[in-house]
Protein backbone atom coordinates (compact mmCIF):
# COMPACT_ATOMS: atom_id res chain seq x y z
CA UNK A 1 0.00 0.00 0.00
CA UNK A 2 1.48 3.35 -0.87
CA UNK A 3 -0.06 6.37 0.75
CA UNK A 4 2.06 8.58 -1.51
CA UNK A 5 -0.19 7.77 -4.49
CA UNK A 6 -3.36 9.55 -3.37
CA UNK A 7 -4.38 12.61 -5.32
CA UNK A 8 -6.72 15.56 -5.17
CA UNK A 9 -9.91 13.51 -4.86
CA UNK A 10 -8.66 11.86 -1.69
CA UNK A 11 -7.76 15.31 -0.38
CA UNK A 12 -11.39 16.35 -0.76
CA UNK A 13 -12.41 13.65 1.69
CA UNK A 14 -10.33 15.08 4.53
CA UNK A 15 -12.05 16.68 7.52
CA UNK A 16 -12.91 20.36 7.06
CA UNK A 17 -12.17 21.12 10.69
CA UNK A 18 -8.98 23.15 11.19
CA UNK A 19 -7.58 22.76 14.72
CA UNK A 20 -4.52 24.78 13.65
CA UNK A 21 -6.10 27.91 12.29
CA UNK A 22 -5.08 30.45 9.71
CA UNK A 23 -3.78 33.91 10.58
CA UNK A 24 -0.61 32.75 12.30
CA UNK A 25 2.62 34.58 11.52
CA UNK A 26 4.62 32.04 9.55
CA UNK A 27 6.64 33.26 6.57
CA UNK A 28 5.32 32.81 3.08
CA UNK A 29 5.61 29.24 1.93
CA UNK A 30 6.29 27.85 5.41
CA UNK A 31 6.24 24.06 5.22
CA UNK A 32 6.39 23.36 9.00
CA UNK A 33 3.12 25.31 9.37
CA UNK A 34 1.63 23.20 6.60
CA UNK A 35 2.84 20.15 8.46
CA UNK A 36 1.01 21.29 11.61
CA UNK A 37 -2.17 21.69 9.61
CA UNK A 38 -1.84 18.17 8.23
CA UNK A 39 -0.99 16.67 11.63
CA UNK A 40 -3.89 18.34 13.43
CA UNK A 41 -6.28 17.32 10.64
CA UNK A 42 -5.09 13.74 10.96
CA UNK A 43 -5.49 13.57 14.74
CA UNK A 44 -8.51 15.81 15.22
CA UNK A 45 -9.35 17.77 18.36
CA UNK A 46 -8.64 15.03 20.90
CA UNK A 47 -5.16 16.37 21.25
CA UNK A 48 -2.85 18.13 23.70
CA UNK A 49 0.24 19.77 22.24
CA UNK A 50 3.47 20.57 24.09
CA UNK A 51 5.54 22.87 21.96
CA UNK A 52 9.25 23.49 22.50
CA UNK A 53 10.53 26.96 21.72
CA UNK A 54 11.07 27.23 18.01
CA UNK A 55 9.56 28.58 14.82
CA UNK A 56 6.19 26.90 15.25
CA UNK A 57 5.85 28.20 18.80
CA UNK A 58 6.84 31.75 17.84
CA UNK A 59 4.58 32.02 14.82
CA UNK A 60 1.52 30.42 16.43
CA UNK A 61 1.45 32.37 19.67
CA UNK A 62 2.39 36.05 19.38
CA UNK A 63 0.91 37.56 22.56
CA UNK A 64 -2.10 37.89 22.96
CA UNK A 65 -3.07 35.63 20.06
CA UNK A 66 -2.94 31.89 19.55
CA UNK A 67 -3.47 29.79 16.44
CA UNK A 68 -4.19 26.54 18.28
CA UNK A 69 -7.74 25.24 18.54
CA UNK A 70 -6.56 22.52 20.92
CA UNK A 71 -4.97 22.65 24.41
CA UNK A 72 -1.43 23.86 23.86
CA UNK A 73 1.46 24.52 26.18
CA UNK A 74 4.69 26.31 25.38
CA UNK A 75 7.70 25.07 27.29
CA UNK A 76 11.42 25.77 27.23
CA UNK A 77 13.70 24.76 24.40
CA UNK A 78 15.00 21.62 26.06
CA UNK A 79 12.07 19.91 27.74
CA UNK A 80 9.14 19.43 25.35
CA UNK A 81 9.39 15.65 25.71
CA UNK A 82 9.66 15.86 29.50
CA UNK A 83 6.58 18.09 29.73
CA UNK A 84 4.67 15.77 27.39
CA UNK A 85 5.58 12.94 29.77
CA UNK A 86 4.13 14.96 32.63
CA UNK A 87 0.94 15.74 30.70
CA UNK A 88 0.49 12.08 29.86
CA UNK A 89 1.06 11.01 33.46
CA UNK A 90 -1.35 13.72 34.62
CA UNK A 91 -4.08 12.41 32.34
CA UNK A 92 -3.45 8.87 33.60
CA UNK A 93 -3.73 9.97 37.25
CA UNK A 94 -6.91 11.98 36.65
CA UNK A 95 -8.43 9.06 34.77
CA UNK A 96 -7.56 6.69 37.57
CA UNK A 97 -9.23 9.00 40.06
CA UNK A 98 -12.24 9.31 37.78
CA UNK A 99 -11.79 13.05 37.47
CA UNK A 100 -10.99 13.25 33.77
CA UNK A 101 -13.85 14.86 31.91
CA UNK A 102 -14.24 12.15 29.28
CA UNK A 103 -13.43 8.48 29.27
CA UNK A 104 -11.28 8.93 26.21
CA UNK A 105 -7.62 9.63 26.37
CA UNK A 106 -6.45 12.46 24.13
CA UNK A 107 -3.32 12.14 22.04
CA UNK A 108 -0.30 13.87 23.55
CA UNK A 109 1.95 15.50 20.98
CA UNK A 110 5.35 17.00 21.68
CA UNK A 111 6.67 19.31 19.03
CA UNK A 112 10.22 20.47 18.49
CA UNK A 113 12.35 21.80 15.69
CA UNK A 114 15.60 20.18 14.65
CA UNK A 115 17.53 22.29 17.15
CA UNK A 116 15.03 21.70 19.94
CA UNK A 117 15.15 17.97 19.25
CA UNK A 118 18.58 16.98 17.98
CA UNK A 119 20.67 19.46 20.00
CA UNK A 120 18.98 20.93 23.03
CA UNK A 121 16.09 18.57 23.71
CA UNK A 122 17.85 15.30 22.99
CA UNK A 123 18.27 14.17 26.59
CA UNK A 124 14.64 14.96 27.46
CA UNK A 125 13.53 13.11 24.33
CA UNK A 126 15.75 10.15 25.13
CA UNK A 127 14.38 10.08 28.67
CA UNK A 128 10.77 10.12 27.53
CA UNK A 129 11.39 7.38 24.96
CA UNK A 130 13.18 5.30 27.57
CA UNK A 131 10.36 5.70 30.11
CA UNK A 132 7.86 4.44 27.55
CA UNK A 133 5.59 7.47 27.78
CA UNK A 134 2.55 7.04 25.51
CA UNK A 135 3.05 10.09 23.33
CA UNK A 136 4.05 11.23 19.86
CA UNK A 137 7.17 13.30 19.36
CA UNK A 138 7.26 15.25 16.12
CA UNK A 139 10.53 16.81 15.07
CA UNK A 140 10.01 19.26 12.23
CA UNK A 141 13.40 19.43 10.63
CA UNK A 142 14.08 22.65 8.74
CA UNK A 143 17.79 22.06 9.10
CA UNK A 144 18.86 25.07 11.19
CA UNK A 145 17.71 27.36 14.01
CA UNK A 146 15.47 29.36 11.70
CA UNK A 147 13.55 31.61 14.06
CA UNK A 148 16.67 33.09 15.68
CA UNK A 149 18.35 33.80 12.36
CA UNK A 150 19.48 30.61 10.63
CA UNK A 151 22.20 29.31 12.94
CA UNK A 152 23.54 25.83 12.26
CA UNK A 153 22.19 22.88 14.22
CA UNK A 154 23.15 19.22 14.17
CA UNK A 155 20.36 18.79 11.61
CA UNK A 156 22.08 21.09 9.12
CA UNK A 157 23.37 19.09 6.15
CA UNK A 158 26.93 19.09 4.85
CA UNK A 159 27.75 22.12 2.75
CA UNK A 160 24.83 24.33 3.80
CA UNK A 161 25.65 27.96 4.41
CA UNK A 162 24.11 29.33 7.61
CA UNK A 163 24.90 32.42 9.67
CA UNK A 164 27.19 30.40 11.96
CA UNK A 165 28.64 28.26 9.17
CA UNK A 166 28.92 30.90 6.45
CA UNK A 167 30.34 29.97 3.09
CA UNK A 168 33.17 32.10 1.81
CA UNK A 169 36.65 31.94 0.35
CA UNK A 170 37.84 29.52 3.03
CA UNK A 171 34.71 27.81 4.32
CA UNK A 172 32.30 25.65 2.33
CA UNK A 173 29.48 26.00 4.83
CA UNK A 174 28.56 23.27 7.29
CA UNK A 175 31.40 20.78 7.71
CA UNK A 176 29.57 17.97 9.53
CA UNK A 177 26.94 15.47 8.43
CA UNK A 178 23.31 15.59 9.43
CA UNK A 179 22.37 13.69 12.59
CA UNK A 180 20.27 10.60 11.91
CA UNK A 181 17.41 11.20 14.35
CA UNK A 182 15.22 8.31 13.21
CA UNK A 183 17.94 5.77 13.98
CA UNK A 184 18.46 7.35 17.41
CA UNK A 185 14.76 6.64 17.98
CA UNK A 186 15.10 3.09 16.67
CA UNK A 187 18.01 2.53 19.06
CA UNK A 188 15.62 3.18 21.97
CA UNK A 189 13.57 0.14 20.89
CA UNK A 190 10.34 2.14 20.78
CA UNK A 191 7.31 0.73 18.94
CA UNK A 192 7.07 3.32 16.17
CA UNK A 193 9.56 5.54 14.36
CA UNK A 194 8.92 7.13 11.00
CA UNK A 195 10.22 9.80 8.68
CA UNK A 196 7.75 11.87 6.69
CA UNK A 197 7.50 14.98 4.56
CA UNK A 198 4.55 17.35 4.01
CA UNK A 199 5.16 17.01 0.26
CA UNK A 200 3.53 13.59 0.70
CA UNK A 201 0.56 14.65 2.85
CA UNK A 202 -1.32 11.34 2.90
CA UNK A 203 1.80 9.44 3.85
CA UNK A 204 2.43 11.95 6.66
CA UNK A 205 -1.15 11.77 7.93
CA UNK A 206 -1.21 7.96 7.85
CA UNK A 207 2.02 7.89 9.84
CA UNK A 208 0.68 10.38 12.38
CA UNK A 209 -2.43 8.25 12.86
CA UNK A 210 -0.33 5.13 13.32
CA UNK A 211 1.92 6.97 15.78
CA UNK A 212 -1.10 8.02 17.85
CA UNK A 213 -2.64 4.55 17.83
CA UNK A 214 0.55 2.88 18.97
CA UNK A 215 0.74 2.22 22.70
CA UNK A 216 3.98 3.74 23.85
CA UNK A 217 6.28 6.40 22.48
CA UNK A 218 6.39 7.23 18.77
CA UNK A 219 8.90 9.43 17.03
CA UNK A 220 8.27 11.24 13.76
CA UNK A 221 11.08 12.95 11.91
CA UNK A 222 9.46 15.34 9.44
CA UNK A 223 11.48 16.97 6.70
CA UNK A 224 10.11 20.50 6.45
CA UNK A 225 11.66 22.89 3.93
CA UNK A 226 12.03 26.50 5.07
CA UNK A 227 12.12 28.92 2.12
CA UNK A 228 13.40 31.78 4.28
CA UNK A 229 16.34 29.90 5.73
CA UNK A 230 17.11 27.84 2.68
CA UNK A 231 17.18 30.95 0.51
CA UNK A 232 14.76 29.61 -2.08
CA UNK A 233 11.49 30.74 -3.65
CA UNK A 234 8.50 30.74 -1.31
CA UNK A 235 6.60 28.54 -3.75
CA UNK A 236 9.26 25.84 -3.96
CA UNK A 237 9.02 24.25 -0.51
CA UNK A 238 6.81 21.35 -1.57
CA UNK A 239 8.91 20.71 -4.63
CA UNK A 240 12.14 20.69 -2.57
CA UNK A 241 10.62 18.14 -0.21
CA UNK A 242 9.79 15.90 -3.13
CA UNK A 243 13.23 16.33 -4.69
CA UNK A 244 14.93 15.47 -1.39
CA UNK A 245 12.86 12.31 -1.04
CA UNK A 246 13.16 11.24 -4.66
CA UNK A 247 16.93 11.68 -4.70
CA UNK A 248 17.35 9.56 -1.56
CA UNK A 249 18.61 12.52 0.48
CA UNK A 250 15.76 12.10 2.94
CA UNK A 251 14.28 8.61 2.52
CA UNK A 252 10.72 8.03 3.71
CA UNK A 253 10.48 4.98 5.89
CA UNK A 254 8.83 3.66 9.01
CA UNK A 255 10.08 1.31 11.69
CA UNK A 256 7.38 -0.70 13.42
CA UNK A 257 8.70 -2.74 16.35
CA UNK A 258 12.18 -2.67 14.89
CA UNK A 259 11.09 -3.70 11.38
CA UNK A 260 12.19 -1.18 8.75
CA UNK A 261 9.88 -0.54 5.81
CA UNK A 262 10.56 1.95 3.03
CA UNK A 263 7.47 4.02 2.20
CA UNK A 264 8.62 5.34 -1.14
CA UNK A 265 11.37 3.75 -3.20
CA UNK A 266 12.42 6.33 -5.82
CA UNK A 267 13.63 3.58 -8.17
CA UNK A 268 10.06 2.31 -8.65
CA UNK A 269 9.04 5.71 -10.03
CA UNK A 270 11.64 5.53 -12.79
CA UNK A 271 10.88 4.30 -16.26
CA UNK A 272 14.54 3.84 -17.14
CA UNK A 273 16.82 1.66 -15.04
CA UNK A 274 19.04 4.63 -14.16
CA UNK A 275 19.35 4.86 -10.36
CA UNK A 276 17.71 8.04 -9.04
CA UNK A 277 19.52 7.80 -5.69
CA UNK A 278 22.15 10.51 -5.47
CA UNK A 279 20.71 12.83 -8.12
CA UNK A 280 20.98 15.78 -5.78
CA UNK A 281 22.06 18.57 -8.12
CA UNK A 282 18.44 19.55 -8.88
CA UNK A 283 17.74 19.74 -5.17
CA UNK A 284 20.89 21.63 -4.17
CA UNK A 285 20.93 24.35 -6.77
CA UNK A 286 17.40 25.56 -6.20
CA UNK A 287 18.59 26.82 -2.83
CA UNK A 288 20.76 29.81 -2.03
CA UNK A 289 22.34 28.05 0.94
CA UNK A 290 24.08 25.63 -1.44
CA UNK A 291 24.89 28.22 -4.12
CA UNK A 292 28.61 28.21 -3.28
CA UNK A 293 28.85 24.50 -4.08
CA UNK A 294 28.77 25.26 -7.82
CA UNK A 295 32.13 24.22 -9.20
CA UNK A 296 33.10 22.38 -6.01
CA UNK A 297 32.53 18.97 -7.54
CA UNK A 298 34.54 17.01 -4.98
CA UNK A 299 32.17 18.13 -2.19
CA UNK A 300 29.05 17.38 -4.25
CA UNK A 301 30.48 13.98 -5.01
CA UNK A 302 31.15 13.37 -1.32
CA UNK A 303 27.53 14.25 -0.52
CA UNK A 304 26.32 11.95 -3.31
CA UNK A 305 28.37 9.08 -2.00
CA UNK A 306 27.09 9.64 1.50
CA UNK A 307 23.47 9.64 0.22
CA UNK A 308 24.05 6.37 -1.65
CA UNK A 309 25.75 4.80 1.36
CA UNK A 310 22.93 5.80 3.72
CA UNK A 311 20.36 4.49 1.25
CA UNK A 312 22.16 1.15 0.97
CA UNK A 313 22.34 0.90 4.76
CA UNK A 314 18.58 1.55 4.95
CA UNK A 315 17.88 -0.97 2.19
CA UNK A 316 19.94 -3.59 4.02
CA UNK A 317 17.87 -3.00 7.16
CA UNK A 318 14.58 -3.51 5.31
CA UNK A 319 15.79 -6.80 3.85
CA UNK A 320 16.93 -8.20 7.15
Amino acid sequence: MNETGYGIFAARMLPKDEPFVQGHRACQGCIPALMLRQITKAIGRDLIVCSATGCMEIISSPYPFNAWGVPWIHVAFENAAAVASGVEEGIEVLRRKGRFYTGRKPAVLALGGDGGTMDIGLQALSGALERGTDFVYVCYDNEAYMNTGIQRSSGTPMGASTSTSPAGRVSTGQVTWKKNLAEIGVAHNIPYVATACPSYPFDLMAKVKKAVEVKGPALLHVFAPCPTGWRCDANSGIKLGRLAVESGLFPLFEVVDGQHKISLDPATMRKSSQDPIGEIAGYLFQQGRFRHLKGRDELIQAIQERVRLEWQKLKAKTER
Binding site: N2, R12, K239, Q274
Partner: protein
Protein backbone atom coordinates in the same frame (compact mmCIF):
# COMPACT_ATOMS: atom_id res chain seq x y z
CA UNK B 1 -27.76 31.61 7.41
CA UNK B 2 -28.18 33.97 10.29
CA UNK B 3 -30.61 31.76 12.15
CA UNK B 4 -29.00 29.69 14.88
CA UNK B 5 -30.85 26.87 16.58
CA UNK B 6 -30.37 25.82 20.18
CA UNK B 7 -29.27 22.22 20.61
CA UNK B 8 -28.75 20.63 24.02
CA UNK B 9 -26.27 17.76 23.85
CA UNK B 10 -25.70 15.73 27.02
CA UNK B 11 -26.78 18.79 28.99
CA UNK B 12 -24.51 21.16 27.10
CA UNK B 13 -26.15 23.94 25.13
CA UNK B 14 -24.76 25.01 21.78
CA UNK B 15 -26.16 26.92 18.82
CA UNK B 16 -25.75 25.68 15.27
CA UNK B 17 -26.97 26.88 11.86
CA UNK B 18 -30.22 25.53 10.39
CA UNK B 19 -29.78 22.14 8.67
CA UNK B 20 -26.51 21.24 10.40
CA UNK B 21 -26.27 17.44 10.61
CA UNK B 22 -26.89 16.42 14.21
CA UNK B 23 -23.64 14.45 14.29
CA UNK B 24 -21.68 17.65 13.60
CA UNK B 25 -23.52 19.43 16.40
CA UNK B 26 -22.68 16.56 18.76
CA UNK B 27 -19.03 16.72 17.83
CA UNK B 28 -18.97 20.48 18.32
CA UNK B 29 -20.30 19.92 21.81
CA UNK B 30 -17.42 17.53 22.47
CA UNK B 31 -19.50 14.35 22.48
CA UNK B 32 -18.06 11.26 20.86
CA UNK B 33 -20.43 9.81 18.29
CA UNK B 34 -18.94 6.73 16.62
CA UNK B 35 -19.74 6.14 12.97
CA UNK B 36 -18.64 3.90 10.14
CA UNK B 37 -20.37 5.38 7.11
CA UNK B 38 -20.33 9.15 7.60
CA UNK B 39 -17.99 11.59 5.90
CA UNK B 40 -18.77 15.30 6.11
CA UNK B 41 -17.73 15.88 2.50
CA UNK B 42 -20.44 13.74 0.93
CA UNK B 43 -24.17 13.31 1.50
CA UNK B 44 -25.20 11.30 4.53
CA UNK B 45 -26.27 7.75 3.83
CA UNK B 46 -27.40 6.58 7.27
CA UNK B 47 -26.59 2.95 6.68
CA UNK B 48 -24.37 1.88 9.58
CA UNK B 49 -26.72 3.30 12.26
CA UNK B 50 -23.88 3.30 14.79
CA UNK B 51 -24.09 7.09 15.02
CA UNK B 52 -27.61 6.95 16.44
CA UNK B 53 -28.45 9.19 19.38
CA UNK B 54 -31.52 9.78 21.54
CA UNK B 55 -33.24 12.90 20.25
CA UNK B 56 -36.17 14.74 21.81
CA UNK B 57 -37.83 17.56 19.91
CA UNK B 58 -40.56 18.11 22.51
CA UNK B 59 -42.98 15.22 22.55
CA UNK B 60 -41.08 11.97 22.84
CA UNK B 61 -37.58 10.57 22.68
CA UNK B 62 -36.58 8.60 19.62
CA UNK B 63 -33.44 6.97 18.34
CA UNK B 64 -32.23 8.76 15.22
CA UNK B 65 -29.21 8.30 12.98
CA UNK B 66 -27.45 11.57 13.76
CA UNK B 67 -25.62 11.77 10.43
CA UNK B 68 -28.88 11.88 8.44
CA UNK B 69 -30.74 14.14 10.87
CA UNK B 70 -30.57 17.86 10.05
CA UNK B 71 -31.16 20.20 12.99
CA UNK B 72 -34.28 22.27 12.23
CA UNK B 73 -35.92 22.82 15.61
CA UNK B 74 -34.78 23.10 19.20
CA UNK B 75 -33.70 19.66 20.21
CA UNK B 76 -32.38 17.81 23.25
CA UNK B 77 -29.94 14.98 22.60
CA UNK B 78 -28.35 12.22 24.65
CA UNK B 79 -25.35 10.54 23.06
CA UNK B 80 -24.34 7.87 25.55
CA UNK B 81 -27.27 6.27 27.40
CA UNK B 82 -27.66 2.59 28.28
CA UNK B 83 -30.29 2.18 25.59
CA UNK B 84 -27.92 3.57 22.96
CA UNK B 85 -25.05 1.42 24.12
CA UNK B 86 -27.29 -1.67 23.94
CA UNK B 87 -28.42 -0.82 20.44
CA UNK B 88 -24.93 -0.03 19.21
CA UNK B 89 -23.64 -3.25 20.74
CA UNK B 90 -26.27 -5.21 18.82
CA UNK B 91 -25.31 -3.56 15.53
CA UNK B 92 -21.63 -4.21 16.13
CA UNK B 93 -22.50 -7.81 16.96
CA UNK B 94 -24.12 -8.22 13.55
CA UNK B 95 -21.25 -6.48 11.76
CA UNK B 96 -18.75 -8.68 13.58
CA UNK B 97 -20.54 -11.78 12.37
CA UNK B 98 -19.99 -10.61 8.82
CA UNK B 99 -16.45 -9.28 9.23
CA UNK B 100 -14.85 -10.88 12.31
CA UNK B 101 -11.35 -9.78 11.37
CA UNK B 102 -11.75 -6.02 10.99
CA UNK B 103 -9.80 -3.73 13.29
CA UNK B 104 -12.32 -0.84 13.27
CA UNK B 105 -15.06 -3.21 14.40
CA UNK B 106 -12.92 -4.68 17.15
CA UNK B 107 -12.16 -1.19 18.45
CA UNK B 108 -15.88 -0.36 18.56
CA UNK B 109 -16.63 -3.76 20.07
CA UNK B 110 -14.20 -3.09 22.89
CA UNK B 111 -15.78 0.32 23.48
CA UNK B 112 -19.33 -1.07 23.70
CA UNK B 113 -18.51 -4.27 25.55
CA UNK B 114 -19.05 -6.75 22.73
CA UNK B 115 -16.73 -9.70 23.21
CA UNK B 116 -17.31 -11.44 19.88
CA UNK B 117 -20.15 -12.04 17.45
CA UNK B 118 -23.11 -13.90 18.93
CA UNK B 119 -22.37 -17.65 18.80
CA UNK B 120 -25.61 -18.34 16.93
CA UNK B 121 -24.61 -16.10 14.05
CA UNK B 122 -22.59 -17.82 11.36
CA UNK B 123 -19.32 -16.08 10.62
CA UNK B 124 -18.44 -14.89 7.16
CA UNK B 125 -14.96 -13.60 6.61
CA UNK B 126 -15.71 -10.53 4.53
CA UNK B 127 -13.39 -7.54 4.64
CA UNK B 128 -16.03 -5.03 3.41
CA UNK B 129 -18.59 -3.68 5.88
CA UNK B 130 -20.83 -2.24 3.10
CA UNK B 131 -20.66 1.33 4.39
CA UNK B 132 -20.85 2.59 0.80
CA UNK B 133 -18.26 5.33 1.31
CA UNK B 134 -16.28 4.20 -1.76
CA UNK B 135 -19.37 4.04 -3.98
CA UNK B 136 -20.57 7.47 -2.89
CA UNK B 137 -17.13 9.06 -3.13
CA UNK B 138 -16.66 7.70 -6.63
CA UNK B 139 -20.05 9.08 -7.71
CA UNK B 140 -20.16 12.40 -5.86
CA UNK B 141 -16.57 13.56 -5.54
CA UNK B 142 -14.71 11.90 -8.39
CA UNK B 143 -17.73 11.84 -10.71
CA UNK B 144 -16.68 8.52 -12.23
CA UNK B 145 -19.34 6.16 -10.78
CA UNK B 146 -17.05 3.26 -11.59
CA UNK B 147 -18.26 0.99 -8.78
CA UNK B 148 -21.65 0.12 -7.33
CA UNK B 149 -23.52 -2.21 -5.01
CA UNK B 150 -24.62 -5.55 -6.37
CA UNK B 151 -27.05 -8.10 -4.96
CA UNK B 152 -29.23 -7.97 -1.88
CA UNK B 153 -29.18 -9.12 1.69
CA UNK B 154 -26.24 -11.30 2.56
CA UNK B 155 -25.22 -11.37 -1.12
CA UNK B 156 -24.76 -7.61 -1.26
CA UNK B 157 -21.28 -6.43 -2.22
CA UNK B 158 -19.43 -3.62 -3.95
CA UNK B 159 -18.16 -4.42 -7.43
CA UNK B 160 -17.05 -2.85 -10.66
CA UNK B 161 -19.48 -3.67 -13.52
CA UNK B 162 -19.53 -7.43 -14.22
CA UNK B 163 -16.70 -7.73 -11.68
CA UNK B 164 -14.31 -6.78 -14.47
CA UNK B 165 -12.03 -3.89 -15.36
CA UNK B 166 -13.94 -0.66 -15.85
CA UNK B 167 -12.28 2.05 -17.98
CA UNK B 168 -14.44 4.64 -16.20
CA UNK B 169 -12.31 4.08 -13.08
CA UNK B 170 -9.55 6.69 -13.16
CA UNK B 171 -7.43 4.88 -10.54
CA UNK B 172 -7.31 7.97 -8.32
CA UNK B 173 -7.37 5.94 -5.12
CA UNK B 174 -10.06 8.02 -3.39
CA UNK B 175 -12.06 4.85 -2.63
CA UNK B 176 -9.02 3.32 -0.93
CA UNK B 177 -8.53 6.49 1.09
CA UNK B 178 -12.07 6.64 2.51
CA UNK B 179 -12.40 2.90 3.18
CA UNK B 180 -12.69 2.42 6.96
CA UNK B 181 -11.42 -1.16 6.82
CA UNK B 182 -8.70 -0.50 4.23
CA UNK B 183 -9.94 -3.42 2.17
CA UNK B 184 -9.37 -1.52 -1.08
CA UNK B 185 -5.70 -1.48 -1.97
CA UNK B 186 -3.71 -0.11 -4.84
CA UNK B 187 -0.05 -0.12 -5.77
CA UNK B 188 2.12 1.24 -8.56
CA UNK B 189 4.40 -1.13 -10.40
CA UNK B 190 6.28 -0.86 -13.69
CA UNK B 191 4.31 2.13 -14.88
CA UNK B 192 0.91 0.67 -14.07
CA UNK B 193 -1.38 1.40 -11.17
CA UNK B 194 -3.17 -1.70 -9.95
CA UNK B 195 -6.43 -1.35 -8.02
CA UNK B 196 -6.87 -5.00 -7.19
CA UNK B 197 -10.42 -5.05 -5.92
CA UNK B 198 -11.82 -3.41 -9.06
CA UNK B 199 -9.44 -5.32 -11.39
CA UNK B 200 -8.23 -2.00 -12.71
CA UNK B 201 -4.78 -1.67 -14.26
CA UNK B 202 -4.23 1.93 -15.33
CA UNK B 203 -1.32 3.48 -17.22
CA UNK B 204 0.86 6.02 -15.47
CA UNK B 205 2.02 9.20 -17.19
CA UNK B 206 5.76 9.58 -17.66
CA UNK B 207 7.26 13.02 -17.14
CA UNK B 208 8.95 14.20 -20.32
CA UNK B 209 11.85 15.78 -18.46
CA UNK B 210 12.83 13.51 -15.59
CA UNK B 211 11.28 10.26 -16.85
CA UNK B 212 9.44 9.53 -13.61
CA UNK B 213 5.97 8.01 -13.45
CA UNK B 214 4.02 10.66 -11.67
CA UNK B 215 0.25 10.44 -12.21
CA UNK B 216 -2.25 7.94 -13.66
CA UNK B 217 -3.11 8.98 -17.20
CA UNK B 218 -6.85 8.82 -16.56
CA UNK B 219 -6.52 11.13 -13.53
CA UNK B 220 -4.69 13.69 -15.67
CA UNK B 221 -7.44 13.48 -18.31
CA UNK B 222 -10.07 14.02 -15.63
CA UNK B 223 -8.26 17.03 -14.12
CA UNK B 224 -7.87 18.53 -17.56
CA UNK B 225 -11.54 18.06 -18.40
CA UNK B 226 -12.84 19.31 -15.07
CA UNK B 227 -10.60 22.34 -14.88
CA UNK B 228 -10.58 23.22 -18.58
CA UNK B 229 -6.83 22.66 -18.92
CA UNK B 230 -4.85 21.45 -21.89
CA UNK B 231 -4.09 17.72 -21.32
CA UNK B 232 -0.60 18.43 -22.67
CA UNK B 233 0.11 20.50 -19.56
CA UNK B 234 0.42 17.22 -17.63
CA UNK B 235 3.29 16.02 -19.82
CA UNK B 236 5.84 17.47 -17.38
CA UNK B 237 5.68 16.57 -13.69
CA UNK B 238 5.32 19.15 -10.94
CA UNK B 239 8.98 18.74 -9.93
CA UNK B 240 10.22 19.70 -13.39
CA UNK B 241 7.92 22.63 -14.13
Amino acid sequence: MAELIKVTIDGKEIRVPYDTPLIEACRQAGARVPTLCYNENIRAYGVCRICMVEANEGRRTRLVASCAYPVRREITVQTNTDRLRRNRAMLINLQLARCPDEKVLHELAAEFGVKEAHPRLTRDHEDCILCGLCVRTCAEVVGASAIAFEGRGSQRRVVSPFDDENPACIACGACAFVCPTQCIKFFDENGKRHVERWHRVADMLVCEKCGNYWLPDAVAQTYARKMGLDPASFAVCTNCR
